[in-house]
Symmetry: C2
Subunit: 212 residues, 2 copies
Amino acid sequence: MAENRPPDSSRRSESSRRAIHDAALGLVGEVGYPRTTIEAIAARAGVGKQTIYRWWPSKAAVLLDAFVALGDRAAERSGGGEAQGISDTGDLAADLRAVLRATVDELTDPAFEAPTRALAAEGIVDPRLGAEFVQKLLDPSLRLYAARLRAAQEAGQVRADVDPRIALELLVGPLTHRWLLRTLPLTHAYVDTVVDYTLRGLTPHGDAPVIS
Amino acid sequence: MAENRPPDSSRRSESSRRAIHDAALGLVGEVGYPRTTIEAIAARAGVGKQTIYRWWPSKAAVLLDAFVALGDRAAERSGGGEAQGISDTGDLAADLRAVLRATVDELTDPAFEAPTRALAAEGIVDPRLGAEFVQKLLDPSLRLYAARLRAAQEAGQVRADVDPRIALELLVGPLTHRWLLRTLPLTHAYVDTVVDYTLRGLTPHGDAPVIS
């Protein structure tokens, strides 16, 4: 369909925007966040610095935007993923396994891994950037888990006294820990086990400890 | 007792070693890992560069050693903590709450927080440093959780089909996620809830889903 659409300024803008995103992600993955500059992004994207400053107030803003776009593209490629919401097939375990497996694929995708690590590392030492990272990138995805768990709660599949906002951290926390710190391989089998343990707990059925 | 012990080279060594550790931790927390140099550590500790090179092959080695010593000191101060092992009182939930609460206190202690964040952030983007960080600092503490869960398994308090090495990530993963990414406050109440959910699971008792 694209060839029937006349070239116009919005298409040119879109292609510059995409080139700037790609340049920003490539640079941050290669040289790290502190050494990625607006000048270098502009040079690699083949645009003037002013083009970047017209659209974004800062390097952090360019990068966060680039990550949002990258996540959307990954979700489109995989025909789903968490950017589209988490499926509700009625089978909570299967739905959680599906979204966590897709996240494993994304986090271990070379196009995604280096820039995501660079941005996460910088957010860990820079509270202001970290807060933007959480607000713009992480929280929207965590809310999808909370919503799916809440639906399961309404269906009686999750205990009524469980706080979905905390429960979701038993799913994404282990995955993030293993990925960021590279303790052991991050695989589909691993996230399947995490879903199993999280839903069923570690204690034998009918023998749950009394929590004081 | 110290005044009865004659000053000797091993005491001088110990005090230099401690000064070097403190300088390394202070600098990495203030200026970050990349900008912390052996020269700056030596200057701040009041020793010659050669003293440092005599004991450690690299900046990473100094820092990892400094962290091990810091963890030991924190454990001594708190009269326990995970560096001394995880208690086995027979009450798994209580023992896990105790060690995780002590870890929260450590991670939110200003003396510990800035250098730990700086080292973790660098390990995230530098796989070689990350591997040393995991091997020397993280794995020894994870093994304590695995051992405690294995003891509970032998006591029939944890399902026999649970892999302790994976199960422990449901405890430390959420804590690390919340601490590193600063999503929400890291409190004792939070880790208590994580222990509760991890042990009991999210699904209603007697209504566990069949895991395919």
